[in-house]
C-alpha cells in the first residue's frame, strides 16, 4: 500500500453509516473510493451540494455541477444542491458529522494549522476555518512528515486554522488521538514500529502499553 492509500483506507473506517461528511480537496477526496455506497454516507461539498457523486463519464460533464476544487462531479440519488449560506449553515450548525482535511502542522494541544504559510503561500482559508471550528468531528489526514521534517510538533509555528482540538490524526505511520492530556498514539501503520513513529514526531506522544496495527476494511 502507498502512504496515501494507508491514510485513505484508515480514515474510511472512521466514517459511519448515514452520516454527512466533507472531504477536503486533495488526499481526502480519494477516501470516497473506499466507502461502500450502501452505507448511505452523504458527501458534502461546501460550494453547495449534499450528496456529491464521483466524476462523470468523459464528455458528459455539466459545467454547473462541480466540487469545491472546481472538478466535475455527479449527484447521487437523493442529493440536494444549496446556496452558500445554507451550505455553511450545515457546517456551523452541527449538521456536518465529519470533516476530513489535510494538515501542515498539528500540535500537542491538538491544534491544526493548514491554511497559510506567511510570506510564502497565502491562498486564503476558503471553507477550512468554518469546517475545523464547527464540524462535529475533525479528522486530519496527512503525511507524517514533510521532506523528512515532523509535522506533528510541540506547538504549531504556523497560524492556526481554529482554536479547537481536532478529533483524530491519521498519517501514513500512525493514528494519533489528541486528548486533554496530550497526543495519544492509538495505532501504528503496517510495518511501522513505535520507535520509528516517535522518531518522526517532534511532539511528545503518550504511548499506551499496547499500540495495535491499523486495521483496514476489505
Amino acid at each position: 500500500m502507498s502512504p496515501e492509500e494507508i491514510i485513505q483506507r484508515r480514515v474510511a473506517r472512521e466514517l459511519r453509516p448515514g452520516t454527512l461528511v466533507n472531504l477536503g480537496i486533495g488526499l481526502p477526496t480519494g477516501i470516497a473510493r473506499y466507502i461502500d455506497p450502501d452505507l448511505g454516507i452523504l458527501f458534502q461539498s461546501e460550494n453547495g451540494i449534499v450528496g456529491m457523486g464521483s466524476r462523470p463519464p468523459e464528455g458528459m460533464e455539466d459545467e454547473e455541477l462541480t466540487d469545491a476544487g472546481g472538478s466535475f462531479i455527479t449527484a447521487v440519488p437523493g442529493a440536494a444542491t444549496v446556496d452558500s449560506t445554507l451550505s455553511f449553515g450545515l457546517i456551523r450548525g452541527g449538521h456536518l458529522d465529519v470533516t476530513v482535511l489535510g494538515g501542515l502542522e498539528v500540535d500537542e494541544k491538538g491544534h491544526l494549522a493548514n491554511w497559510v504559510v506567511p510570506g510564502k503561500m497565502v491562498p486564503g482559508m476558503g471553507g477550512a476555518m468554518d469546517l475545523v471550528a464547527c464540524a462535529r468531528r475533525v479528522i486530519v489526514a496527512m503525511q507524517h512528515t514533510a521532506k523528512g521534517r515532523p509535522k506533528i510538533v510541540p506547538t504549531c509555528t504556523l497560524p492556526l486554522t481554529a482554536n479547537r482540538r481536532v478529533t483524530l490524526v491519521v498519517t501514513d505511520l500512525a493514528v494519533i488521538e489528541p486528548t486533554e492530556d496530550g497526543l495519544v498514539l492509538r495505532e501504528r501503520a503496517p510495518r511501522a514500529a513505535v520507535e520509528e513513529i516517535v522518531a518522526a514526531t517532534s511532539a511528545k506522544l503518550i504511548i499506551p502499553d499496547d499500540v495495535p496495527e491499523m486495521v483496514f476494511l476489505d
Binding site: 461546501e46 453547495g48 466540487d67 491562498p123 486564503g124 464547527c134 497560524p159
Partner: protein, 221 residues
Amino acid sequence: MKQAISPQQAAEMVPDGAVLMIGGFMGVGSPHRIIDALVAAGRKNLTVIANDTGKPDFGIGRLIRANAIAKVVASHIGTNPETQKGMIEGRIDVDLVPQGTLAERIRAGGYGLGGVLTRTGLNTIAAKGQRVIEIDGEDWLLATPLKAEFALIHCDRADFVGNLTYELTATNFNPVMATAGATVIAESREIVPVGLISPDNVNTPGVLVDYLIRREAHRVA
C-alpha cells in the same frame, strides 16, 4: 416588467472605483458576459466582493488580468496566482474572510442585520481587528455586514419580471448577493415568460432584481 440590457450597457453603469459583488465559485455560476464587458470597457480600481478570484483569465480572473481590480474581499485566492502576485506586489489589496463568514456578512448586509456572531476564526489571525462578544460565557466573533453598489449575478432562468432560479452548484453566492447590491444585474442562461416559473420555484423574487442581461443573439431571427 424588467428591462433587458446588453452586457455593454451594464458595464457602462458601473463607474471606475465601484464596489461590486460578483457571484460564482471558481467561475462556476459567474456572470461571464458582464465580466467580459467590464474588461472591454477598461474599468479600473474596482472593489470586488466574491468567494474567490476564479482562475487565470477565467471568471473574475479576467478582471484580475485586465488590472481592473484594486481591492478583493474573498475567502480564497489560491486558484489564481495572478491575484497572489498582485497582492505581493502591492497592486491588489486582499481581505481574506472565511467562506461561511463571507456568506453571512453578505446576508447581514442584504437582510438588514447589524452583524452576525460566529465561532469561525476565533483566536486566529483572521480575527485580527474584529470584536469578540461574550454571550452567556461563550465567546463569539462579530462579523459585520457587507453591501455593494452593484451585485452582478448569474442564474439559470429568469422571467420577464425578474424572478430567478438557479441550477446545481452554480447557485453558490448568487442568491445572497441578490439581496445585498444596491443595483442587481442578473445574467440568466434563459429568459422565459411570466408564469413559467411557478411561485414555489422562485429562488430570488424579481423585486430584488433591477436589470436582466438580454439574451445572446439567436440563430433564428
